[in-house]
Subunit: 342 residues, 2 copies
DNA sequence: CTGAAAGCGCTAACAC
DNA sequence: GTGTTAGCGCTTTCAG
């Protein structure tokens, strides 16, 4: 009806049809460039579209078919690693007709953001939060193509893209042990994150840490310290570690955000030369010379690109699941070095 | 009809109505908790909703009325300042029934992301990119509530939230001049950004820089250096500045990302004590002890919160425009100090 | 090659 | 208080 609070009604396909003196169906064909339209009609319709500045309603389209929207659920907008994934995804979407929509799940627990995406009839969903039940995800995947990032358990219903967390953490351990460290602490998020079945990346990193310590004959020295998921809490936890005597000589953080928080405590205590620090994700910040954080690169942008690629394949009709594993590599920087005292 | 490539058809309101033995309208009323439903019916319907795991289609709803979606257009997903805005926005959306959807405009120029949002029938749009023509925005605002962030020119059609860039940059100049600096360079993005009418934040910061220099009797020493929008390019530009003799003693960067890039060059050259650096935005990184960057805080989260507040008011019916200005404050840290040699 | 008509899932009038 | 009905804007058979 009339405009709500002075809002203008949008131009519809009917307006265009009338202006061009053709049927709605004809307009529809032209804008989708479907076959079966004469050049003359195409020209008339296009002119009318231009003239009226017509834009098809995605909602109406979605009701019939596709919304040309890819949804990406992210647990935390501020997370640099996720940001890299998004950049890769955008790149892969490039000039397809699909638009990326990011639904932030910040704070609110549960599946709200993912459901919001599904409710909006997106054509495919990339899920990043690892705290999602596999069952639930399978149900979701029954109605819309899904690719899950960073989850190791495989499903018949959805695709996955993961880094090889075991290998990555293994490289860290080799590096630190190789430098001569023995008192190596693993700093990771509280157990909620490492307890999600065996599939969570952080669980695997934790296992690999324990295995690596054991393999180096340091099993008895292995020590896992939990902290919150923010930089601030990692900083606070690291302060406590630095107050201990003897101090651990190296800390392997579960991800860069924790590592960067820990680094803050190290800088405060001016203990840079005494304790080595290694992160995971090789966030762009890690390379900053003021931080120079040794970190495992697991190719965030590549993950994003791959995820989109798989989704587009699914949308295109593929039904067999695919699972892609990315090989990580360690970027060694100044935050790690030989222990000060042997 | 039947499922596309094995995809399950979603439960519709009709399924629920049948299961509950009532009409579709009744179901609709219950799920929107509109008035005029008996407790008994409400119970039956709710049971059926649970049973079938029914979720209303947002697309279908949008066709009639609201999509309960707020769109936020961001020019760059990796930008920490934008991230803060998003966090504020999420907070303000809290437990309203509105869902935030972020449309990243990364890279692609033009209004693609904003249009994508509008096409998807969002109930309101927050626009962050300052490179948008006022005209175009006014047209958009005629069909959907819009609030524009960081733009100084006022419109009758849309709301705005801005920091007082002139005051913020003024504080920086006072700070640096007060410390005794005379060779103060302003590092800002290439002219495309500072040339968008008089409304762009960066134009105002630039003006305030020039005015501040002049007011301090340093007009002749004023020097504006342009760089790209990435950390890397700021770093490269800063390297060149550091290679000059005499070096500038202070650099005021147009925003933290540039400042952080510049800081990388400073750290590389080990010139930390010789050149002061000030940023703008007071990004969370600025507070990190390894960077400790002096920066202007313009309340990103507050901007996000305010923007959402205004949008909800518009959606609620307000039609007169509102424009909100946030007072910035300077966070002084170790990156700025008195010049080494006078 | 073109147009008429049915219907996607939902809401809002309006009858009953 | 409850159900019927007419669309919202678009795509898609299916006749012509």
């Amino acid at each position: 009806m009339s405009q709500v609070s002075g809002r203008r009604r949008a131009v519809t396909i009917l307006d265009v049809a009338r202006a061009a003196g053709v049927s709605r169906a004809a307009v529809s064909k032209v804008i989708r460039d479907a076959s079966g339209v004469s050049p003359a009609m195409r020209a008339r319709v296009n002119a009318a579209v231009q003239e009226l500045d017509y834009r098809p309603s995605v909602a109406a389209r979605a009701l019939r078919g596709a919304s040309y929207t890819i949804g990406l659920e992210v647990p935390q907008v501020g997370n640099r690693f996720l940001t890299q994934i998004v950049e890769g995804a955008l790149e892969a979407l490039g000039d397809t007709r699909y638009q990326l929509m990011i639904a932030p799940a910040d704070g609110r627990e549960g599946y709200g953001a993912i459901e919001a995406l599904a409710d909006r009839q997106v054509d495919g969903i990339v899920v990043v939060s690892p705290r999602v039940e596999a069952r639930w995800l399978e149900r979701l995947a029954a109605s819309v193509p899904v690719v899950m990032l960073g989850r190791h358990d495989r499903s018949e219903r959805y695709d996955t893209v993961v880094g090889d967390d075991t290998a990555g953490a293994g490289q860290v351990l080799e590096h630190l042990v190789g430098l001569g460290h023995r008192h190596i602490v693993h700093l990771t998020e509280d157990s909620a994150v490492t307890a999600i079945g065996t599939g969570s990346p952080h669980t695997l990193r934790l296992r690999a840490y324990e295995d690596g310590m054991a393999a180096a004959g340091l099993g008895a020295l292995a020590r896992v310290v939990r902290t919150g998921q923010t930089e601030k809490s990692a900083q606070a936890t690291m302060r406590e570690l630095l107050a201990e005597r003897p101090r651990p000589t190296a800390v392997f953080a579960g991800h860069d955000q924790l590592a960067i928080g820990a680094l803050a405590a190290v800088v405060e205590a001016d203990a840079g030369r005494e304790v080595s620090l290694v992160g995971y994700d090789n966030t762009d910040l890690a390379a900053h010379p003021a931080l120079s954080l040794t970190s495992v690169d697991q190719g965030g942008p590549e993950m994003g690109r791959r995820a989109i690629g798989m989704l587009l394949e699914r949308i295109g009709g593929r039904t067999e699941p695919r699972h892609h594993v990315i090989r990580p590599s360690l970027a060694v920087r100044r935050s790690s070095g030989p222990p000060a005292h042997d």
